[in-house]
Each structure stands twice: as C-alpha cells, then as structure tokens.
C-alpha cells in the first residue's frame, strides 16, 4: 500500500516536473527579480542598485501618457475587435453552410501563420504617404494623414487580433443548444429578442474570453504602436523597452511592469466575474 502510494506520488511529480520547472525559471523567478528591482534604485551607470524605496512607484505619473494611451487604446481596441468579430463568429457558427464552415474558419486563422511584424509593415505602406493618402489625393482629397495616428494603431490592433477574438466567440456559439433558440421562438420571442435574451447571453463566456485575451495582450503591445503610431502613440510596452534598453533605468521599468501585471490581473478577474454572473454558468474557462 505504502510503496504504491509512493510510486503514484513520484509519477505525479515526474509528470508535473517539467512544467513546474519551466514556470519557476521563466515566470516566478523573473517576477520576484522584477519585484525586487522595482523597490531599488538606478545605479549611476544604469541598471539596478539594491535599496528599499517606493520612489519608482511615486514616479509612475511621469509615464502617464503611455499609461493613458494603453488604458484607452487597449479597451477600445478590444471593443473594436469584438464588434467586428461577433458577426463573423455568429455567421460561422450559426448561419454558414456546414461544408463551408471549416474552410471559412481556416481563412480566419491562416493570416496568423505569417508574422505579425510583416503584416504590420504591410499596413505601414498601405496607410503611409504612398498608400491610401496618395490614392485619395488622386481623386482630389488632399492632406489626409493616416499613419502615426491613434486611428492607425486601432486599425492595426483590430487587424492583428481579430482571430483571437473570433475563435472563442465561435466556440461558445457553436456549443449553443439550438433548441434553446427554438424554445425562445416558441415562447413568442421575436428573432431580435431571442438574440438578446438567449444567444448573446449564452455566448458571453466566449465574448469575455476573447475580450480579456485581446485586452491583456494589448496591455503589453509594443509592435503595432511603434510601426503604425510612429512613436507618437506610445504604449506601456514602448515605455518598457525604452526604460530597460535605452535609459537603462531598470527599477522604474520594473515598477511599471509590476503595475501592468496588477492591472491585467484585475481585468481578468473582473471579466470572469461578469461573464459568470450574466451567463448563469457555474464556471468559466477563461483561456
């Protein structure tokens, strides 16, 4: 009996070992390091010098613009993504002919196979001086500036993260029991009432999953603001790169990173709470 139990425990440990080691080395230790850094001081020649001060956190307002941009554009981007993704997911799950469904889903995913960097570069040219503005000038609309605006960043965000929003919503709509829609119609609900009262409500877990997934990734977004915002629309991600690599102010960068993690956690928990309550589900798988 005893030996059996031991073997069982050993097996469990062996199976969980690699993942645990991975998490410890690449998540827990860096997280501890950054936490320690964030209460330290910048060494005179850059980097980190041991200390205990909350000065870095007090200094956060110095990067208020990056925080502000992130806090506005990340939710706005996720929302814009959602508005585009929901009809697509709805069509794929409930309206598209069965034999087309797989092909259409593949079309949603395939752009993901090319690098986001390349696709964003492409947008740089499309939106840049010799892209759409040049076309507009040709038909007489002059002086339209698209690149390096918040609008360009938003567009890049929607384009880049759309599949991440479509897929979880698709899954929750696909799982929806069609007889519930019939029951709703049977009880006198018009198609609009059925959509609002049943379809939308029951797909909320998917909506929340997609929303928090995109939102969290956007909080750390670096590439799209750099390429399409041209340094004018600055995200926290850009601030972090700047602080760690350019000005080598590790403690301040760490304080910003920690704050970002805390905000992400709050967003996750809030999204989970909301969707659980509204959809009446017992438990929601977030990712």
């Amino acid at each position: 009996m005893h030996g059996n139990r031991f073997r069982h425990n050993l097996l469990t440990a062996l199976l969980l070992g690699p993942a645990t080691a991975w998490l410890v080395v690449f998540l827990v230790l860096p997280f501890i390091a950054i936490t320690v850094f964030s209460v330290g001081e910048r060494a005179p020649e850059g980097g980190y010098q041991a200390a205990f001060t909350l000065a870095q956190y007090a200094n956060l307002p110095a990067r208020a613009t990056a925080f502000w941009n992130t806090m506005v554009l990340a939710p706005a981007g996720a929302l814009a993504c959602l508005l585009v993704a929901y009809p697509v997911a709805y069509y794929l799950a409930l309206r598209a002919p069965e034999r087309w469904r797989l092909i259409l889903l593949a079309l949603v995913v395939i752009p993901f196979w090319t690098s986001l960097l390349m696709r964003t570069y492409a947008w740089m040219y499309v939106l840049g001086g010799r892209g759409i503005p040049a076309l507009l000038a040709y038909v007489g609309i002059e002086d339209i500036r698209l690149i390096n605006t918040p609008g360009a960043v938003l567009l890049g965000i929607v384009y880049g993260y759309l599949p991440l929003m479509i897929l979880p919503i698709y899954v929750s709509l696909e799982r929806l029991d069609r007889r519930l829609l019939e029951a709703s119609a049977d009880l006198g609900a018009t198609p609009v009432s059925t959509f609002l009262g049943v379809t939308l409500r029951l797909s909320l877990p998917g909506v929340m999953t997609g929303f928090s997934l995109v939102m969290i990734l956007l909080l750390g977004e670096y590439l799209i603001p750099t390429l399409l915002g041209g340094g004018k629309v600055f995200f926290i991600g850009n601030a972090l790169v700047d602080l760690f690599l350019q000005s080598r102010n590790w403690p301040f960068g760490s304080a910003i990173a920690i704050t970002l993690v805390l905000v992400s956690v709050v967003v996750l928990i809030a999204a989970n709470r909301i969707s659980t309550r509204l959809s009446g589900a017992r438990r929601v798988d977030l990712i």
Binding site: E182, A183, A185, G280
Partner: protein, 378 residues
C-alpha cells in the same frame, strides 16, 4: 354542427431533399382532445409536430390552427407552445424566469404584477411552489420536466405540443407523469398533442392515437380500437405484444376466414380486408387471448418452455410443434394453483374469431414495417 378542429393537416407533405419525411397527411384534431402521434423513429411524427410549432414548413399542403392557415406564420406568432425533448430550459435563467419568459414577450406588455402572479400559479400547478429561485441545473429530471410544462402552459396556448416529454425519465417517474399529464389536460381543457414512440404511453394517456409509419398515418382511433382492431399487420405488431403466425386461407365461414397454420391446424380468424382462398396471411393472436388448460381440449398443443410470474399474471413461452414459440398471458388467482411449470404439456385455446388475419406483405417479412403502404383510415 361541427366544431372547428384545433389542428388540421390538409394534404401535408414534407420533403428534405430527396427524402420524404411526411407524405400526404390529412388529419383533424378536435378541440380539447389528448392525441398521441405514435410510431417508430423516422415515421414522421416529430416532423408533424414541428410543422404545427412552425419550425418546419410543409413542402405541400397546409397546416391550420383553429381554422387559420399557418403558412408563413413564424413560431413566435403561433398560438401553440411546445414541451421540447430534453426540455430546452434556459440555463442562464432561474425557474421563475424560465416560466415567465413567454409572458415577458407578450405585446402589449403585461404588468410585472401579472407576470409574477401568473408564473406563481403555473409553478403551483406543477407542484413546484417555492422552487422559483432555483437554478435549472439544481433540479432533478422530473422537476425540469414540470418546469418545461409550466413554461409552456403559462402562456395559455390553444394547443400544447409535447415532443417525447417522458423519454428521459425513469420508469416510476414516467408513470407518475403520465397520470399528471392526463389530469392537467382534463383540468385545463386544451388540446394536447403528444409525440411518442412508446405504445404503452400512447395507449394509456390519450383519447386518440394516430399511428404513423413511413411518413403516413396508418390508423387513427381510440386506444382500445387501435389495440383491438389494428388496421394492418404493422399496427398489430407495433401496438402491444402479439403472436404473429403465418398461414394460408383455407376457406370462409361467414364473416370469418379459416386459416391453415404451418402445422396443419385450422383456426377461424377475423379479417380487416377481403381475403381469398390461398392467400398467405399473418394471424395476430394477443397473448391474453390465449387460455391454457390441461392437455386434451384446445386448438393447439404445446410444451411450456419458460414462465415469468408477474404476480397478478403469469407469462408463458410455449413451444408449439411446427409453429414455434407462442407468448401467452394468464391471470393468476390466489390459491387456485393454476400455474404451469416449464416442461409441462398444455393445450392452448382461444375464442373463435379472436385471431385477426392480415395479408402478408409481398416482400417476405424482414423489413415489412418500412414497406407497408396502407391507405389512411380516418
């Protein structure tokens, strides 16, 4: 004066691509009736129900509800409500909100007070008072069943449609619900249309049974008619237990025909369609028509193979030479000691004319159910 039927099918055919699910159905369901659509799976009964509900449109013909042609009327504008198979209750709403769902859709809007009081009455009607704030997943199957009933009935539909409503319940609960449904129907007085593949359920609950097979109505009648006077071999075999013996028509004696069975015994049987000498027939003999006695008298002789004692009755499997195994059911009287033992020889008797002879389908036996095409008798 004839009342307008609650539900009427006129020449209704439904095709899915090349498959015909329902073909040329004419049916009128009188007001305040409990009607069962009975048949094996794939016979078209559920399609018929869904056409009443508005979830399917007939390919030909028309469905009328209380005299109104329902062509083009969507489900949410039809005065009927359905209890779905597996109930289809809304998982994100509690019991009371499920029940009041239909009331909230009413235009002009009902007052909150009216909605609450009617939902409360509906809950009480299905004996679930006090369960209003429970979540659906906290209820047992039987309770969910009753919520589905209340959710449909609270809207005061002209007709209640029930799609295999008891299929998911265990036997004891099913029997209770059968009685409860019957009582409800009598209390409310609206028409219930029940779809079921369970012949016992159809016979025990409904005023009329509509037996369907291969997309057609094979027989429409009161339960006792369906059981005692099946229209054809399919109905005889599908409804209730029966022994089917094959034989040849040997002659006629008045209204009855003489059928020579495989072992040479000649029995007198009733018939539903004209038969002539030499026709191959199947004779249906209900187990309870057979009486068992000591060897000597009776038309058939056999040996008891198995006995299943059921308390008030006993069922016997009796091996008859040249015919095969027959099922017989005998009442048991306490202290009479009239039970036969396996291995005992017995004589099997039945009243003349108790057997029913049907012409045997041309294509020998195996898939006779699918290939029976019998004109509608209604």
């Amino acid at each position: 004066m004839t009342a307008v039927p609650d539900i009427e099918f006129r020449g209704v055919t439904k095709r899915y691509g090349s498959v015909t699910a329902v073909s040329g159905i004419d049916l009128a369901i009188p007001p305040s009736a409990f009607v069962a659509l009975l048949g094996p799976s794939g016979c078209g009964k559920t399609t018929c129900l869904r056409m009443i509900g508005g979830f399917e449109q007939p390919s030909e013909g028309a469905v009328f509800i209380r005299g109104r042609d329902m062509a083009g009327t969507p489900p949410y504008r039809r005065p009927v409500n359905m209890v779905f198979q597996q109930y289809a209750l809304f998982p994100h709403l509690d019991v009371e909100d499920n029940i009041s769902y239909g009331l909230r859709q009413a235009r002009p809007r009902l007052s909150t007070r009216e909605i609450t009081s009617r939902a409360g009455e509906a809950l009480a009607m299905v004996r679930l008072a006090g369960y209003g704030r429970r979540k659906i997943h906290e209820l047992s199957g039987g309770q969910q069943q009753r919520v589905a009933l209340a959710r449909a009935l609270v809207n005061k539909p002209a007709v209640l449609l029930l799609d295999e409503p008891l299929a998911a319940l265990d036997k004891k609960l099913r029997t209770d619900m059968q009685i409860e449904l019957q009582n409800l129907q009598r209390e409310i007085g609206i028409t219930f249309v029940l779809v079921t593949h369970d012949q016992e359920e159809a016979l025990s609950m409904s005023d009329f049974v509509c037996v369907m097979n291969g997309g057609r109505i094979v027989q429409l009648g009161q339960p006792s008619e369906i059981y005692d006077e099946p229209a054809d071999l399919f109905v005889a075999d599908f409804v209730g237990k029966t022994n089917l013996l094959s034989g040849k028509v040997a002659g006629r004696s008045g209204d009855l025909v003489d059928v020579a069975l495989a072992n040479g015994t000649v029995i007198a049987a009733r018939r539903r369609v004209p038969l002539s000498q030499g026709d191959t027939v199947s004779v249906s003999l209900r187990p309870e028509m057979l009486s068992l006695g000591p060897p000597g008298n009776g038309s058939l002789r056999g040996i008891v193979r198995n006995r299943i004692f059921l308390g008030s009755t006993a069922e016997y499997a009796i091996e008859v030479q040249g015919i095969g195994s027959l099922l017989a059911k005998a009442d048991h009287q306490i202290g009479q000691g009239n039970l036969f033992k396996p291995g005992e020889p017995v004589a099997i008797g039945f009243a003349a004319g108790a057997p029913l002879a049907f012409p045997q389908p041309k294509n020998n036996g195996t898939n006779q159910r699918e290939n029976q095409h019998v004109e509608i008798i209604s």
